[in-house]
Symmetry: C2
Subunit: 272 residues, 2 copies
């Protein structure tokens, strides 16, 4: 049977040992991760400036920020740790202060489908906001990450007393909905190379003049719904065409226009 694939993270060693037993290893890793997730490093106070860094809170008056700071908690996770799992009881709303968090779905066969990445300022963990009982997906720290946590109880209180803020959060989730719809389309209707290009664009850090994607090829593959080897080969093609430069654990985009999705360009097939 086909389509078995990379395990949660860092599976090179496992892969080297055994391909047949991947499933078992996957299950194992999930269990291990479940333990790791309580392994946070610290829980400290949060300053107002910290909160102002988060777009949703940016325009809030100081008094509201202070009440938020009083109930929110700072947590840190090491790279690879599972923050919450799909199917878990939904507890709180999470904000990324630094680092990146990967939102994934894992089919029990061990295959991982990345849904999106959350970086600085983004919030995730939709569930309590919607009265959702269980998390719809898994969140994993991509690198070392600092999160601010808004516990469910506080959120409940906010829903009743601060509709304005709730509205801002809902807006964020509208984008989430849109993004997921897009992922579905891309996975269903695009070719794999197009999907890889799209992921490059989506996850590029565009601050610099040469945008950079700080991801291993493994993780890029998961976000594109494919496997490492294919990503590797496709990137090599792009590099030969002068569109990207491959560096360890990162890809530098040299010609961003060349990656633009096939929609834009009417027809990339031979015109004749």
């Amino acid at each position: 049977m086909p389509r078995m694939c990379p395990v949660v993270t860092g599976d090179t060693a496992l892969a080297r040992r055994s391909y047949q037993n991947r499933t078992k290893y996957a299950i194992l890793l999930i269990v291990v991760s479940n333990v790791l997730r309580y392994n946070m490093v610290a829980a400290l106070q949060i300053s107002l400036d910290n909160l102002r860094d988060i777009p949703a809170f940016h325009a809030l008056p100081d008094e509201q920020l202070m009440s938020l700071a009083a109930v929110m908690v700072r947590r840190q996770y090491a790279a690879g740790h599972i923050i919450f799992m799909e199917g878990d009881q939904a507890e709180s709303l999470w904000f990324v202060a630094s680092g990146r968090v990967k939102i994934i779905k894992q089919s029990l066969h061990g295959r991982v489908q990345g849904l999106c990445l959350m970086d600085r300022g983004k919030c995730f963990g939709s569930c309590p906001l919607f009265d959702m009982a269980k998390n719809p997906a898994t969140a994993q720290a991509l690198n070392d990450v600092t999160l601010f946590v808004l516990p469910e109880a506080a959120l409940e209180h906010m829903k009743a007393h601060d509709p304005h803020l709730v509205k801002a959060l809902l807006h964020i989730y509208s984008q989430r909905l849109e993004h997921l719809a897009r992922v579905s389309e891309v996975l269903g209707a695009w070719t794999v190379p197009d999907r890889i290009n799209d992921s490059l664009l989506t996850y590029a850090d565009r601050d610099a003049r040469d945008p950079v994607v700080e991801l291993t090829q493994e993780k890029l593959a998961s976000l594109s719904g494919t496997v490492r080897e294919v990503v590797s080969r496709h990137l090599r093609l792009l590099e030969k065409a002068g569109i990207v430069r491959i560096e360890p654990r990162r890809i530098v985009i040299l010609n961003i226009d060349a990656l633009m999705p096939p929609c834009a360009c009417e027809d990339q097939r031979k015109p004749a």
Copy 2:
């Protein structure tokens, strides 16, 4: 270049004439549909009983129902008509009174990826609820359909005055989010036959003892992210195995357990 595919609806004739020109026909159809969508048949009053049929409104006191009935509008669309298009200005919240509506994403190449079906009682058109500017996907009448429309203005009013109802609606969208996350996983990590089975389960009408899927193979293919021929072949296999019975425009499920997703059954590969 591969992966070109079924056009919006009823493309058999087109397909017969020309495979090469599909793209052009697809674009054409989209334009045509854009005209058709204003072609609703009637706009009539709505009774309280009509509203009570919708789960979200079920527990509402009469007075609230009456105020809803005052602002909501009934519309009817013929099979195949586009109700709204991806990218359109989001105008209102829609409820399905009868018939079924298909939510789709169309990549400009003419390929259609079905996201979900909405049947009686479901609501769609998330957007105004979230302050979303544009529709994230397209809605098309699958068969003749009657819809109740809650215009944006009324919704705006409701958001301020009836938090309880808004909460109920948000809950619906939490399920939407969950469903989309699932679609993404399924498209990215499952094999095509599994995806078809999953679609059969998802869209079966389970009221009868033998559940029935009232869909053409074409539409089933779109919902599964594949093409008609593959669906046809796979269904034939299922029929030979005694799991379904194929009838024109519908599939009768005889052994629903046999369709259950691969997750459930630990391992469907040979145990040795």
